[in-house]
């Protein structure tokens, strides 16, 4: 893609809300990933060097109506590393929301206290509503089971960093394909690229029909199987947690959970080049002996969260401008 198109897409992020991965164009994705490259090695961890302040005096509001560790802390880390400050709450019980205030009012009020808002909320569509009523940009930090667009961006960044490209890739998704929002958002975002997407999961947790149709119509559908044994030739395997609450029968849950656990031996036939990703937290779907495989990149994936969120905040709030 031409540099000019990328620069244009990067400029368009200034003051923009980020609500859904479905809103991203290919240029949007590439612009954020390119911007993230500039913060590589500035996001903490071994060998990291401090980032020059790019957002001094800017304040990010973190409104977390639901518990979160990674998303909240990585946004906080990203903003602090850029020289900005954060405020907000991590528990809806301490906000006016618990007194019955509408989300609409909460957003309008908080918009007067900061320069951008990160919102996590249990209701699907809450971020879209917040972005409509807010006078400042709103970044969706997860709206129920719907969207988590910054997770999608950091997943894409992780794939690009590990593979050197986003085109000409075979990506497999395994686990909860039905309810896993990370699967839905990443699969939809990957449709902007030349990829083949395969799906491995139990019949009760198949991909939603509409998304499946979209992938099929785009000519990007690989195989759909119940077991990893039936899969050959993958570049990336994206594993998600199978959640207990999705199963009315605990026996069925235990059976499914046991059959979707991967260890070194199960991954061996897929070769040493395979990259293994997981949005974390994991329960037991990825055995600890996988951690030392060179292709296990799920901890790098979470670290990339800070880098990508630094890039996104910098683009939205016009860092260095």
């Amino acid at each position: 893609m031409q540099d000019e198109a990328l620069s244009e897409a990067a400029r368009a992020f200034r003051g923009r809300s980020v609500v859904s991965a479905n809103d991203f164009t290919r240029a949007d994705i590439l612009a954020v990933l390119e911007a993230a490259g500039a913060f590589e090695g500035r996001a903490g961890g071994p060998g990291s060097t401090p980032q020059e302040p790019r957002l001094p005096g800017r304040v990010l509001g973190l409104l977390f109506f639901e518990p979160s560790t990674r998303t909240r802390l990585s946004f906080e880390s990203a903003m602090l590393r850029l020289g900005g400050s954060v405020l907000g709450f991590a528990d809806a019980r301490v906000s006016s929301f618990s007194k019955g205030e509408t989300l609409n009012d909460t957003i309008r009020v908080v918009a007067g206290y900061c320069d951008a808002i990160v919102l996590r909320h249990p209701n699907e569509g809450s971020a879209r509503l917040a972005a409509e009523v807010s006078t400042i940009p709103v970044i969706n930090g997860g709206d129920g089971s719907n969207q988590h667009p910054t997770q999608t961006l950091l997943d894409l960044y992780t794939i690009k960093k590990a593979m050197g490209r986003l085109d000409d890739l075979r990506v497999g998704f395994m686990g909860d394909l039905r309810y896993g929002r990370t699967v839905h958002s990443l699969a939809a975002a990957l449709l902007h690229f030349d990829v083949k997407l395969s799906f491995i999961g139990p019949p009760s947790l198949k991909l939603p029909p509409d998304l499946r149709l979209e992938i099929e119509e785009a000519g990007r559908l690989g195989i759909e199987v119940e077991s990893l044994d039936e899969v050959e030739d993958l570049d990336v395997l994206y594993i998600t947690r199978i959640q207990k609450e999705r199963f009315p029968d605990p026996v069925e849950y235990e059976r499914v959970r046991a059959s979707y656990r991967v260890d070194r031996e199960a991954l061996l036939p897929l070769g040493p080049e395979l990259k293994i990703m997981h949005p974390l937290p994991r329960v037991n779907e990825v055995a600890p002996d996988v951690d030392t495989l060179p292709g296990a990149i799920y901890f790098q994936q979470t670290r990339n969260g800070v880098t990508v969120r630094m890039a996104l905040l910098d683009l939205i709030l016009g860092g260095g401008a």
């Binding site: 859904s20 479905n22 509408t102 989300l103 609409n104 909320h121 249990p122 209701n123 699907e124 569509g125 809450s126 879209r128 509503l129 709206d143 129920g144 089971s145 719907n146 969207q147 509409d210």
Partner: protein
């Protein structure tokens, strides 16, 4: 106004080409009867679509919002305006690309079911009608 004893429409509206079995739903949507007579034909022969339902309402002109609701009942629904016993206008109803405040989201945890906000749905393709909630992004098939 004098209404003919055979209920021929003098000034009113004909809702035609309703799919068979949807006349009752149309009456419900339009809260009919109101003031004038209403004649209903169900499962009547149609020259174009085999069978159809049809409703004739004396003394009523439909509003845009009502037309949008009726359009959801089928892909061939037409509405004719009759004045002085003659059809002066006939339109084939189109489902708008965007529906505001007409449908309810079936997802109980959608923000539209939990906050004071009007629903907005976008139509995906043509018939059968599928709509995406612009908030929770779930797809609704009618």
């Amino acid at each position: 106004m004098t209404i003919p004893r055979d209920f021929r429409l003098v000034d009113g509206t004909v809702i035609d080409h309703l799919p068979v079995g949807t006349a009752a739903r149309a009456l419900e949507l339009l809260r009919l009867p109101r003031e004038g007579p209403v004649t209903i034909g169900m499962n009547v022969p149609s020259s174009r679509h085999d069978k159809k339902d049809i409703i004739r309402v004396e003394g009523m002109v439909l509003e845009k919002r009502e037309l949008d609701r009726l359009a959801l009942l089928g892909e061939h629904v037409t509405v004719s305006i009759v004045q002085a016993g003659k059809v002066v206008d006939k339109i084939r109803l189109e489902v708008p690309k965007r529906l505001r405040g007409i449908l309810t989201c079936t997802n109980p945890t959608c923000v539209t079911n939990n906050e004071p906000v009007q629903t907005v749905f976008e139509r995906l393709g043509r018939y059968p009608f599928r709509f995406r909630c612009t908030y929770c992004e779930r797809v609704l098939t009618l």
